[in-house]
Amino acid sequence: MASLLRSLFLLLIVQSFLVAIAFGSNEVEEFSEALLLKPLPDRKVLAHFHFENRAPPSNSHGLHHHLFPKAISQLVQKFRVKEMELSFTQGRWNHEHWGGFDPLSSMNAKPVGVELWAVFDVPQSQVDTSWKNLTHALSGLFCASINFLESSTSYAAPTWGFGPNSNKLRYGSLPREAVCTENLTPWLKLLPCRDKDGISALMNRPSVYRGFYHSQRLHLSTVESGQEGLGSGIMLEQTLTVVLQPDTTSVESNMQPSWSLSSLFGRKVVGRCVLAKSSNVYLQLEGLLGHGSKNVDTEIEAHGLWKNADFELSLKPERVLRESSSFLFIFDIDKSSDSEPFDLGLTWNLPSKWSCQQAPLHASRFLMGSGNERGAIAILLKATESQEKLSGRDLTNGQCTIKANIFQIFPWYIKVYYHTLQIFVDQQQKTDSEVLKKINVSPSTDKVSSGMMEMMLELPCEVKSVAISIEYDKGFLHIDEYPPDANQGFDIPSALISFPNHHASLDFQEELNKSPLLSSFKEKSLVRSYTEVLLVPLTTPDFSMPYNVITITCTIFALYFGSLLNVLRRRIGEEERFLKSQGKKTGGLKQLLSRITAKIRGRPIEEQSSSESPAAQSSVLSSKLIFKIILVAGAAAAWQYFSTDK
């Protein structure tokens, strides 16, 4: 009996092994959803939706899918995308109040408009073609004008200044793109539950777009399987980051506003997406260590964490994790149902104040100069308060230094003079060799490619401010190249400031379940911040000018030509003879003219010598006039007839 059972068991094992072989691997496509809520120091609330969809390594990508969106997989297959990130953003991330040194801000603070970068797995010569095709496909997929990134004047190939070091990387951004619900809907279409169920059901369009900042992001990376003959796996990460202002009811101005999910979004979560492997809601509270208890060992203390004198949560968290400077409350929405929806709320009882961790340097960018001819761009880096505490300093030769990479794209009509690059450290001009560690410049070509500047600064730790300025001339565009609203000005895409030696990560010591959101926080991410978009006014021509010029010059030519021709064929002698003979008798026309002038002057007609009736003259004149009018009208009618005939 036992041997029979064993053989049966063996058979089962063999069978399952065979099945595993038949499938290529026994992994299946996985989807997980998460929502992170975080009160911000400036009385706002951040909501970060995180969806992750993994397709295991397989040869059938783009062909057979269960959870993973087929359209994305087909794009990856078709254009051989190795890694790609696409973000749609409206509003500007407030680095001072919303944080600049945590994974959330370094990954989700994006420049205004559309940003796209992609790394391709194709030979170097085909990278540009793949990029162009990809932009078109994405623009169809996301209902956005990403296809404008197709032209070589709008994208660049960063080498090391951007982040991933690859020569098959292309980067482009469209600061002007208006982001709205038509971009969110196709983005939601990629989720298996769309916004029908689960956490994504919270995305009520009016409340999402009423926020101060929203950024929807799609990050795609392929994972090499390592096995021979097996394709690569795909990981699709979709995030939506929203900063919302809760409706305040309290009168006290220093009190943080209380909120709940239903007051923020106008909706509640009625259940998890049944297809998700995990669906959690997290609440992160920063900088409350002074008020809260210092250790979370006992049950009472844990209870006191979510219901204490400072604040109160409406639901009991499953677990509480702590990090060096923040607490993380974990909620499982599994238990919620239609009758008992999940509606997390936070009520503040006492005024509290905290600050966010800041990036070592705060970046801003502005324009200098006036007029439509030339100007200068300045990037200003200011030290933040939290700089002292930060790790990641580089001690070279016994000196403490901060490294900062600046990556900037210039459109070709901003003709930058790279030799005018000036760097001021603490208001003192420094030579390039002192602070500039590395610089890579690719100048723009008129109407062919955009310019790009990557530079690495090495600054002493005690630096207070750094200013970088560079001068430019404004170029002239061809009349066809102006956009319809040319007088609004032209955008210079955001510069990216990243700190290669500083990495942000949140490590919650307890790592029981492998939540994709938490593991993505745990990964060390490069601290980076984007500057403002600059608006450069260019000289715009009068668009009707060509026709005006044509008309005026042609009229002058015609006048000149006509008079010359008349002079050539004049017979002066004959005319004089004719005039002499007519001298005694004035012509009808002349008489009429003299009459008119007399009438204008208000005097009676002096000479009554001509007794011809003016009526006859005028009737002749009017018949001539009528004839002329008819002729012109006939010509116009004929023209109309022949032109409409086609």
Partner: protein, 599 residues
Amino acid sequence: MEETSDRLNPGITPEFDPKTMRSTKPGLKRLFITSSVLFSFLLGVPFLWKSVEIYRSPLPFHDIDSLSDQLESTPLRFPCNFHAVFVGFRSTDPDNLRSQIQDGINQLTHQSSQCGSCDFSLSVTVQNREDQCSDTLAHSSTTCSYCCGVIKRNGFGVGLDDTVDESLNDVFSGCSENSGKMYSVVVVNKENANGGDEVKAVVGKRRHAWIVGNGLEERYGDIVARVSEIFVQAFMNGGREEDSIQGEFMPVGSDGKIVLSFSLLNSNPRDWVYDWDFQRIDEALLAPVTKALAPIANISVESQVLYHTPKSSFSSWDKKLQSYIFRTSDLPFFVNSNEWHLDTSAGASGRSKILQFVVYIPSGKECPLLLQLPNGEISKTNGFISPMWGGVIVWNPGNCDKDSESPSRNTISLQDLEQIVEIFLGQFRQLFGFKSEDNYTSGLGTYKILPSERGFTEWELDVLSRKHTCFNLHSCSTTLGSLSRLVRSLPRMIIKDEIGEQVKYSLKAAKLAQSNASLGGYSSSASSSREARSLAENAFFHPSIMSVSYFSYEHCFAVYSPFFLPVIGHVVLAAVREWKRYKQEKAKYLTWLTRKKTT
């Protein structure tokens, strides 16, 4: 000028009247100047015309017209060789038989020459009881002739139909197929005393059919009619009803590709979630079909599972059937295009035709869901097709009761999947215009049709490739025709050389397809016709045409008229006046001369 008549010219003879005469020759200087200016302007006109001319690649309009005329007047016909073998007939004259069958075929086709039909040549062999043959061969004698006596009268038709089909294939295997396909009908007259009156007619998987029965010689006319019916209905028309789906609705993309997109729709995953292992089905069941259809279209298969996809029509509870019912009148509203995101990314599929096949799993609120036909019966397949779009199959889970709170996760079993694929194959055949019944009944009797495991029998594939070639050529000629109409209607549209080249090559490929078709090369004509169509579409959808860079006459007029209108006025008027004056003055001079002569 009347006033000047008073003036006296004392120096001239009294006969001289200055009003009508002049004594000097009129000068030519001014006339010369004005006319030279006018002429230089006129000379400049061609140069101006040349400079504002836009580039238009010359298109072969004449060839395009002649192609469409040719397709219109003489529909494309393929040579088919029909061969009828009569075994066990005592005294029948093959010539007589041949003419009778030919009459029968002509009667059935009504002499109509539809595009893609057969230009048949018929040969008849009669093998008498002593296994001696008398042949009547077609005009174009094929190298393939029936080897007399191979088919035994009494041994024939014993066993399974499939094996008979195979054996017939061996009999006719020596055929060379360089001039059309060869189709055969074997009629075996068994002389079996105890056999009934039953006549068995079978159409095989390949290109053969057979009729076996007792005492066929007595029902001679009937048999001849049936033979000609097999030739026409099966081998020529593929068992399709002529006007069911026209050739214009061939579901093949212009690049000759079909994407079969399978979607499993869980209308409410909160009730139950079903998944499938489609990859295995694709490899096992669909691969032979796609391989069989390879000469007609390049087929790729993809699948996905979608969730939260309710249908958009309502269904009603039927007490008698204990199930929810949707009717055929609801079908137009069944497909919910708002929630069913069936799309394939256009970047990946390009211009290929996407056929959607949807397996709909009803939610707990509408389970089981059945389709009621107009006659009140319940549909056996529980599915429907929408021409040129695809098909929908409603698949009810085995148990409609939701027992637990949490949704159950299931996988559709392989048997169920096979059933679904069978229904799909039927729908797929229907989209191509074929029926999926295993017999065909006409007024003369019933024919059994052997199904092929590849979905399509060989003679059906032949019909398809004939129709496909025809459809491609038609589409090519209409596309080129509209292109030529467009180009001719917009005389100032820029036409690039590329378009001209594509049109040229498309015409060339169409010519090649026509000549191949007349020679009987099925696959070569299909491939070149596909190329012709795709090139024609490429030319028509060329991006330079799409972004109509159109330099209109109005624009031209607006730019040049401010200069030329006033100047030309001056020039022409001056020239005309000078000419008139010269003529007048010359007349005066001439009258003076005559006067002078007379005096």
